[in-house]
Subunit: 133 residues, 2 copies
DNA sequence: CTACGAACTAGAGCCGCCTCTAGGTCAAGA
DNA sequence: TCTTGACCTAGAGGCGGCTCTAGTTCGTAG
């Protein structure tokens, strides 16, 4: 049961939506800000902070930040104070990429919506004819 | 030189931004609405319509539609009139996915922007201190 | 002639990101 | 005692989407 603050890998999987496989993979990839503590039998014991960190990583991944870049960011955080400017650079760069991504996506959406409109009108007109006869 | 309407694979690559490899790959995957005509020596000859179609496919891909689904859509178009409702379904479904994607992306962007703000303030305050001394 | 550039085919290879397997430990419950 | 289930490690495997290789065939330019 791990005491009130400790979470098993399964519980973290539930809470984050990641698979236990993915959690171990992320750890191996150096994507955890603080080394995961081990309980009896060598089992991982996560804290709420780990879960919070993972949730942020999930946001970064979802928005397309590659694993190696998340690792670089994580390493800076692990190193501690003094590199805030570098962290800021990574975040700003990513922010810009996400903005561009959204613009692109909006263009795609406009095209799709345009085509949906055309097909919808066509399908409606066919249906109207069928009723008319 | 291919006559005024015919384009070589290289020209289409230039015009679409796809690689010639990708163009052959897309064709093999059944992602061309009309069979590509072949010129002397078995070389592909594309029309402007092919380019237009490819540009739409690129939009679908960019917005995350998987190749197999683009193929299904393409097949419907190849079959000709009568299946507009099915085409509409595919487009609407994708439209919805893109919308959700944008919402997600906006959430990510909000988080990132929030963090950028925090780091920016911090970095500014450090800079201010340095000036003050 | 020869040599270049651009095209061709079939199929292998690569990258990113997990996902799964094999073989094992351990604790609690029937 | 035996089984079940959650966990462990190391490493193989899979998937989507290209990308590249090998070995040719052309047509034009030097």
């Amino acid at each position: 049961m791990l005491g009130r603050m400790g979470l098993s890998i399964g519980q973290v999987a539930e809470r984050t939506g990641l698979s236990v496989h993915a959690l171990r993979f992320y750890e191996k990839e150096g994507i955890l800000a603080h080394q995961v503590h081990r309980g009896p039998g060598g089992r991982r014991v996560y804290t709420q902070q780990d879960v919070d960190w993972l949730r942020m990583c999930i946001m970064l991944r979802m928005s397309g930040m590659p694993v190696p870049e998340i690792r670089r960011y994580t390493e800076l955080v692990r190193q501690g104070d003094g590199n805030e400017l570098q962290r800021l650079d990574i975040l700003k760069e990513h922010q810009e990429r996400v903005r561009q991504q959204m613009v692109q996506l909006q263009d795609c959406l406009d095209l799709i919506t345009h085509k949906v409109g055309i097909y919808q009108d066509y399908v409606n007109s066919i249906a109207a004819k069928a009723v008319g006869q």
